[in-house]
């Protein structure tokens, strides 16, 4: 699975993009965030305030219950501030 991070979530995690092998017990976006947050202080810090973390799966906004699977492109980012 391809993971993308943007803005201060990218800055806190320390990389903008990584490939991971999805563990078998990770079935939803919520599971994925829990699993990532346990990977280290940088991830835990970036994902601490869970309600400000926006998630897109295959470039569409989704909620915590949305399923994730190998081959998905999953992006994590803070609320957008364009315009």
């Amino acid at each position: 699975m391809k993971l993308l991070y943007f803005a201060w979530i990218r800055a806190k995690i320390g990389v903008g993009e990584e490939q991971i092998t999805l563990p078998p017990h990770v079935a939803t976006v919520g599971d994925l965030l829990d699993w990532l947050a346990a990977r280290g202080d940088n991830y835990a810090g970036a994902l601490k305030e869970r309600k400000v973390v926006k998630v897109a799966v295959n470039q569409e906004y989704v909620g915590a219950d949305h399923p994730v699977k190998t081959g998905d492109e999953v992006a994590l980012f803070p609320p957008v501030t364009g315009g």
């Binding site: 943007f6 803005a7 897109a56 470039q59 992006a75 980012f77 609320p79 957008v80 501030t81 364009g82």
Partner: protein
């Protein structure tokens, strides 16, 4: 319907002229241009990060929505990314319609929705410290009035 995500500046006069070019049923063109405000310090700047691919998709979806809600002849969104300086143009949204009400309302809609849906993030640099701009509650409220 035209959506452009680019590093380069754009020519507002040419873009707005193109919006009514060859269509003499267009009675009005509304536009909004967003500019980088000065953050105060010497050498201040703003850097726009975005999500290539998803950005274009979201902007296209927002423009589609405007075309469905109002009787528009054409609709344009141009959004820049990269490092910008005070006074630089960030974004242009513009709509062309037979009627001014449709052009004006859809132009406000486009910028409101874009601000809450398009994956861009602003990093302000006041010349000494860098700061990711926080999303504004007022932007969420502005976008909410278009919910239905």
């Amino acid at each position: 319907m035209t959506v452009k995500v680019q590093r380069e500046d754009f020519d507002i006069g040419a873009e707005l002229a193109a919006l009514s070019e060859g269509d003499t049923q267009v009675g009005g063109v509304a536009s909004f241009t967003g500019l980088v405000r000065d953050m105060g310090g010497q050498g201040s700047s703003m850097t726009l990060e975005h999500y290539p691919g998803m950005t274009e998709k979201q902007l296209t979806a927002i423009a589609d929505e405007a075309m469905q809600r109002w009787p528009l002849a054409r609709c344009l969104i141009i959004h820049r990314y990269g490092k910008l300086l005070p006074g630089d143009r960030i974004v242009l949204v513009a709509t062309a319609s037979a009627h001014r009400e449709a052009a004006l309302a859809s132009c406000a809609f486009l910028i409101d929705w874009l601000k809450t849906k398009a994956p861009f993030w602003k990093l302000e640099d006041d010349g000494s410290t860098q700061n990711w701009v926080d999303a504004k509650a007022s932007d969420d409220q502005a976008a909410e009035r278009w919910q239905r």
